[in-house]
Structure formats: C-alpha cells, structure tokens
Amino acid sequence: MEIAFSVLDDQIARFRLDKSSIAFANSLRRAMIGEVPTMAIEDVKIYDNTSALFDEMLAHRIGLIPIKTEEECLIPRDTCSCGGIGCPSCSVLFTLSVEGPGMVTSKDLISQDPRIGPASPDIPVVKLIGGQKVVLEARAIVSRGREHAKWQPTTACGYKNYPVVTVNDRCDACGHCVEECPREILEIRDGRVAVIEGRLESCSLCRLCERACLNTGIGEEAGIIVRSDESRFLFVVEGDGSLPAKNIIRQGLDYIRTQSQGLAAQIYEISGETRDEND
C-alpha cells in the first residue's frame, strides 16, 4: 500500500492510494467520516431568547458550528469517570450572551477551555434588533460521525477508481470524443486521440467519449476505451475545520489498525493458534 499526496493543507487533502483494494478504500472512507472523534455542541440551556428564532432552531444552528478540537484533549462522555453527567474532562462549556441590535456570531460563544473554540469566528447564528436578547449555555462533547453528522470531521470525503484511458488502432482522429469529454482531458496528438499531459486524474469515468465514438458509426468497438484500475484510488478529504485534514486521515488509518488488530486477536483466541509476532 502506498500513498502519494497531491494536495495537503489544513482544509483539504487529495491523494492517490496505490496497491490497495476496493474494500480497504471504502473502509478508509467510512472510518474518516464516521469513526474519527470530534467535538460538537450537544446540550444547550437557554436562559433567555427573545429573538425571532425558536429555541430549537437556535440550538440546532449552534450544534452545527464546527468546534476546533485539539487532539485527545477530551475523552468521550460515556467512558468518562463522571458516568455521563458531564465534567471538565469530557465536556466543554460555552456561554453566549448577546443583546441586540446586531448579529450573533460564533465568536460570541465564549469557551471555558482556551484550547477549544469555534472553527470559524464569523458563522452567523441569529440577527437581533434592539431590545432582543439571547442568553444561553452550551455544552460540547466528543463523539463520532456515526452518532450524528455534526461530529463528522469531513464534508466532501470520497474516492474514485484511477482511470485508465486506452486508445487503439481503430481511432481515426475524428475528434468527436474530444468535444464530448466534459472534463476536457482529451486532445488529438500525432493522428490519434490522447490524454492531455497531467489531466488524466480529472477523468470522471463517465465514458461519454466511448459513446461518442460509437455514435460515429465506427462499429462494435470504440477507438477509445476507459476502464478503472481496481487497485488504485484517488481520494479527496475535505475537513469542516474541526480537525486538520492530515489528522483525519491519520486517525482514520489508526482506527482501521486497532479494529483489525482486535479482530485478529479474537480469532487467534478462538482458534487457539499461537500468534506469529512478525505479522
């Protein structure tokens, strides 16, 4: 298994996964979406709300604000020693108290813990006019995306198979496929159609080029053939700001490792075989 990054910054990562399988690529995708712990606001106590939004609406909007999480600074509430009541080691308290006129934004959420706060300061919560007031207390806890989408660290997170575009002798450079390709990755070069240098990864595997070629009456088989490589994948991982993209990938991989090690240990125990430490 090999990973080659083409883009890697805090917000977004694009990489190619080589010598892998569909099963692994999909488990990595699912692990990154659903199994990487992040923080989000779970309980909101509203003391005063005279804004135009209902309390539920207000709590919902506040819940969707991504909270920047410093890794491992908190533990999940159900495994905490406080037994799920909520204490400083498993939850963070935010207070918000704003009087109109003006916009209530995510930076008005004052965190108890200086390491933890909203990922972006400018998320609008509600607009107030003079005399309106919002006073509330919110508690953020650690959980995973499979519990609720607000704990997902990712927005766009997925993969596609690596495209393999081959052109055979039947091609007569008529150019129909070049026009048809929505990603504009084809050109006519040396009397044949070819992929523009460096554009292959943009191919969406839509195979419109094949269809366009067949529609020219070329016969049973097209001059251009697009297949997908079943062992190579192009990933895109976009974070919502709660964790850097690099940590999402690392923690996703860590999750797969601990899960499969746990499974292997169980199987060894059941079968009674001794374990080869070099595995």
Partner: protein
C-alpha cells in the same frame, strides 16, 4: 437566516453569505463571486443562490 452548512455536503457556507449578498447587490455576476468564495460544488452554490432572507421581516414580531 442562511443555513449554517450546506444541506448536502456539510461545508460551512453561512460565513460567505454577507460578502455574497453585498457583491451581488452591486451587480456582480454570481458565478464570479461563488468562484471567488471557493464554493466549488453545486450543492454549496445553490445554498447561496437560492436563499431568501426573511429574518428582517420576522424580527418585529416576537
């Protein structure tokens, strides 16, 4: 109020709304503004394009 995130992909789009509204009202092409704001996917783009702000109409009534 503009939704906090895109309904489909979950990207935080509400932060872009003020600038989008300001620039759209000066007559700029929405396509250009959305490209500038880094909203690439059409799910996020429709969030801003199709939003109708009614908070100012609601605000006088509690």
């Amino acid at each position: 109020m503009i939704p906090v995130r895109c309904f489909t992909c979950g990207k935080v789009i509400s932060t872009a709304y003020e600038e989008f509204k300001r620039r759209r009202d000066t007559g700029e092409d929405p396509k250009r503004i959305l490209d500038d704001l880094g909203l690439e996917r059409y799910c996020c783009r429709r969030m801003l394009l199709t939003h109708k702000e009614i908070i100012d109409d609601l605000n006088p009534y509690q």
